[in-house]
Each structure stands twice: as C-alpha cells, then as structure tokens.
Amino acid sequence: MIGNDIIDLNYASLKSNTSRKGWLEKLFIEKEIATINNSINRDQTIWLFWSQKEAVYKAHQRRFQFEPIFNPQAYIVNDNTVTIDSYKYITESSINDDYIHTIAYQKNVLQKDKIRVFLNIKEFNFLDQIALKHTYSRDELSILKNKLGIPDICLKNKPLPFCYSSSHHGSYNAFIYI
C-alpha cells in the first residue's frame, strides 16, 4: 500500500499557529516534540512529521479500509519510518522552501521505484496521463471515492487495480499510483 501527502508551507503558516498552547501536544508524542524543539527549523520539522503521519495514515486506511479517525499520535515518526500499532511504513520526503511532499509505502512489500509520482498537475491532466500510459479511453476514466472517502482511479465507474493516493494543500497537488 502507498500513501502521500503534500504541504504548502506558506499556506500552512497562514492557516496554523504552531505555537498555540496545546497544539503540538495534541498531534505529536513527547519524543517527537523533543526532536521538533531541538531542530534548527522548527516549523519545517513540524510539517515534515505531519506529512509523514498523514501519508502513512492514507496508506494504512487504504490497506485496512477503516472509518476515518483523527489519531495522529498513534502514528509514531522515527526518522524515515512511521509505526502504527505493529505496522511499519517507510517514508520518503522531498523538502524545499515552498512545499514538503512525502510518500509512504510498506516495508519489504513495494519497490519504491515503481511508484509513479505527479506533482502540481490538475486531476484532469493526471487522468490524461493515465489514459495515455495505460491506453484507456480518457472519457471512461474518473477518480471516485468509496464510502470511507478513499479515492480510486476508476474505469466506467469501477476501481482499476491501481493503488492510488492524492493530496491537495494550498497551491499544491500530488498524485501517486502503482
């Protein structure tokens, strides 16, 4: 399973006051907070950890098809891994001044280099690419969410056997699939 998350850093700084009392404590565990407070770029570390948790949540929810739940502290970040219960995922993040993009995948299951990543294109154009690459009729392709809110790439409204994840935040979009 795969998941991904993109954070528009400018938008995040406008929309969230990370210094608000209790804010960090609701999202992160003590060890993560210590790392955040010791880091040179506090906010960048906050949003990196948050994107890791979100990307893994998406992979995990797709894998086990559970109802949405807001339990960020259950997703424990340790460098480039995130653990939820007894499950471990690997994350890879690209960071620049504008955004952080993280992809998550299961340890030992997926070849990371098989994951196709599309950054900052519109959903419409992403589907153009899928149609072209896999020779589907573009008109029959769409993105549909199941009742849990998990999206799939669909042909004639039926999910295709791709593992897919999308993320939108501020001015940025990301789509990945395998």
Partner: protein, 83 residues
Amino acid sequence: MNQDQLLLKLKEIITPYVQNEEALKDLSEDTDFIKDLEINSANLVDVVLDVEDEFDIVIENEDMEKMLNVKASLAVIKEKLNA
C-alpha cells in the same frame, strides 16, 4: 445549553477553518468536517482546542479521535459537560 444552542456554538467555532462555505449553510448533525466542509486535517486540532477553550473542558485523545463530524463532536461536548 440545548442541542440547537450547542450546534450554533460549534458552528461559530468551526467557521474560520471551513473551506467550503456553501456546505456551512446547510450545517446539520450529518455534516462531515473533512468531506463536506473541507476543513484541513491540520486544522482539526484547532477545532478541538477551540472546543476545549469555549466549553472549558478537556478532550482526551480517545475523544479527539471521533471529532470528524458534527454529530460525534456534539456527543463528546455533551458528555464532557455532563461529567
């Protein structure tokens, strides 16, 4: 505070974080914070903190987990107010 008053208070709290203003007009118990109102997941924590401040209650992790829609949030608030 009755159910309608609670709903009104909750509406005030979530309004600054809502990205789909249209859905806010039809706010009901069935409204979902992310799916319907398009509240960013990082702002869910602000909703929780604002609820704590407004009602002077403490929301534990196991309650916060459920606060993804109006119905569950009202239930958590009511339970805490009656505790």
